[in-house]
Symmetry: C2
Subunit: 311 residues, 2 copies
C-alpha cells in the first residue's frame, strides 16, 4: 500500500549541545517519508528550490521513495535555522526563510491518485483541506498541525479536522486546541472537533492515543480507555528536529503495511512511532534514519516492549 | 511483613482549581502509610502536636496502621498551606510552619525493631541516616528526598544514598542530584552515588526505574534496560499533594507483600505505585485513599495494564 505525504522539504541549520550541522536535509515530509519507507511505499508532494540537488533527492530515492511529486521551482528551498539548549525540548528559532514554500500549491500527479493512505504534514490548513478534498477515496488520513495554525487560523483548521482519521500533535498543541489545561479533557474536546482518533506526542515520555466510537467501527468495545506507548530513554540526544514527523512516519507506515486497521495494529503502530522517533534524534538531520536497517527497528521495538510490559 | 515509615504527619490547607480544603490530614508518612496499608502492615514514626486528635489518628488506625510510634509533643503539628494553578504540576507554598516537627528526633519503639522494610520519607537526611543505622537488619530500604536537601545538604544526603535499595524522586530532583539535564545520564550518576535502583516519578507521564548490577543479585541479566510504568490519565485532578508518597506506598507496600524481590515483582510494584498515586489526586488530602477498597485497586491495575500492553 502507498502513503502519499504532503509537506515541507527543507534545509535546516541546527545547533545543539552535541554540536552544529549546516544545511542538513530536513522538513516534515522528508522526515515522515524516510521513517515510513521502512514499512511501505511512500510518495512525496512538496516544493524545492534550485539548491535541492540530486544529492538530496538520492537520500529519498535510495529508500525507494517516489519523488516525482516534488516540484522544482526557481529560487531557494525552505530554510530553517534553530538552536536547542541543554534540555532539548524547545528550539530557539534563529531564521525561517519560506522561499519557494511561500507559494506552495500542492499538485497531485496522476500516478499518485491511487494512494491508499494520506499524511497531511504540518502546512497551511487551507492546503491540507485542498489535498484532502482531491483524494476522496483514500482508506485513511492522518494529519499534523502546530500552534501557529491553531492560534491564528482556527477556522481553516476546523475544516480539516473532521476529515482526519487521526490527528497527531503534542501536549501543548492539544491543550491549546482543546482550550483546557487538563490533557484528558482537552483530548476529548479535540475529538469533538472531528478527528476519529487523537495521538498526543509527549516527547521523551512517549505518546498517548485517545479514541472515539468512530476510531474502529466494529471494534469499539476494547477502546474505552486511552493507550500509552513508551519512548526510548536515550543518554545522547543529538537533534530533536523531525522527531515528531519520524514518529508519524513509523506510526502511519506500519498501519499502511497491515491489511486492516484494528486496535491491535493501532497500538503496535504507536510503538513503531516511538522506535522511529527515538532513532531520529540520535544524529543531526536525517542521518540516522537514512542509514537504518530493518533489524535495528525490530530490535528497538522489542526493547520498547520489554521496557513497558510486565511479562 | 511490616514496613516502618518515618516522616511527617501534618495538616495541609490546599487550594486548587477544584476548590479548597482546610487543614486536611497530610504529611508524607500519612500518605505513604495509607497507600501501603492495602498491601501490608505499616508502622509509623512521626511527631504530632496537640491539634492531632483521635479523629486524625483513627484515619490511620481504621486502615490497620500501627500508630504507637507517633510521638505527641506539646504545641502544634507541622502545617503547610499551598495553592495549585491550572496546570497542577507545581504548588505555590503560602505557609510552612514546622512547629513540633522542627525538633523531630525519631525514636524507634521496641515493638518496631523487627520491621523487615524501611521507608525513609522526605525528611532531613541526618535523621534518615540515623534511623537507617538503627535498623541494620531490614530486608530493604527505600527513600525519598527533595531539592532543599539536594542543594543545601548534599554531604548529609550522600551518607544516606548508599544505604538505599531504591531512591524515589522526580525528574527535576534526578537532574539536580545527577547534575545533568539528560535523564538517562543523570540517572546513571545518581546510581553511582549509592542507591541500588532509582525510580523517577514523571507525574502524569508515569515513572521510570533505572537499575544497577546490585538491584537484583542473581537476576542481573534481565535488567540492562530501564522500565517504564504508566500513570492513569485523569480528567479530574483535585489535589496532587501526596501523590508521590502514595506512589511510594503502593510500590513498597506491594514489594513487602511478596516473598522475594524479583524483577517481575519490582515492575508490578511500579504499576501499583501508579495506581495509588492516581487515586490520591482524585480528592483532597487522604479522602480518596482512606475510602478505597482492594477491588478498586485491582481494577485500576488492570486498566493500567490494558493502557500500556500490546496484548
Amino acid at each position: 500500500m502507498s502513503i502519499l505525504v504532503v509537506g515541507s522539504v527543507a534545509f535546516d541549520s541546527i545547533e545543539s549541545p552535541a554540536g552544529r550541522a549546516e544545511r542538513c536535509l530536513g522538513g516534515a515530509a522528508t522526515h515522515f517519508a524516510l521513517a515510513a519507507s521502512f514499512f511501505t511505499k511512500v510518495r512525496v508532494i512538496a516544493v524545492v528550490g534550485e539548491d535541492f540537488t540530486d544529492k538530496e533527492e538520492s537520500v529519498l530515492t535510495r529508500r525507494g521513495i517516489d519523488t516525482s511529486g516534488i516540484e522544482h521551482a526557481p529560487g531557494k528551498s525552505f530554510f530553517w535555522s534553530g538552536a536547542y539548549g541543554s534540555n532539548l525540548n524547545e528550539a530557539q528559532t534563529r531564521a525561517t526563510e519560506l522561499n519557494v514554500f511561500q507559494n506552495f500549491s500542492p499538485k497531485i500527479p496522476a500516478a499518485y491518485q491511487n494512494s491508499e493512505y494520506l499524511f497531511l504534514a504540518n502546512i497551511d490548513p487551507v492546503l491540507q483541506a485542498d489535498v484532502r478534498a482531491k483524494m476522496p477515496n483514500v482508506r485513511m488520513v492522518c494529519g499534523d498541525t502546530m500552534n501557529y495554525w491553531i492560534n491564528g487560523h482556527s477556522e481553516n483548521l476546523a475544516k480539516v479536522l473532521p476529515g482526519l482519521d487521526a490527528l497527531l500533535i503534542n501536549d501543548t498543541e492539544v491543550k491549546m486546541l482543546g482550550k483546557d489545561d487538563n490533557l484528558v479533557r482537552a483530548a476529548r474536546k479535540v475529538i469533538e472537533l472531528g478527528p476519529k482518533s487523537l495521538i498526543v506526542k509527549h516527547g521523551e515520555y512517549g505518546a498517548s492515543a485517545f479514541f472515539s466510537e468512530r476510531s474502529f467501527p466494529g471494534h469499539g468495545d476494547s477502546l474505552a480507555i486511552p493507550f500509552r506507548s513508551p519512548s526510548m530513554p536515550l543518554a545522547d540526544v543529538v537533534d530533536p528536529t523531525g522527531a515528531g514527523d519520524s514518529f508519524a512516519g513509523g506510526f502511519f507506515g506500519y498501519i499502511a503495511s497491515q491489511p486492516e486497521l484494528t486496535p491491535a495494529v493501532f497500538k503496535k503502530a504507536l510503538f513503531y512511532g516511538g522506535v522511529m522517533g527515538s532513532f531520529a534524534v540520535e544524529r543531526f538531520g536525517t542521518e540516522r534514519i537514512a542509514q537504518l536497517d530493518r533489524n535495528e527497528i525490530e530490535e528497538r521495538f522489542e526493547t520498547l516492549r520489554q521496557l513497558s510490559h510486565l511479562d
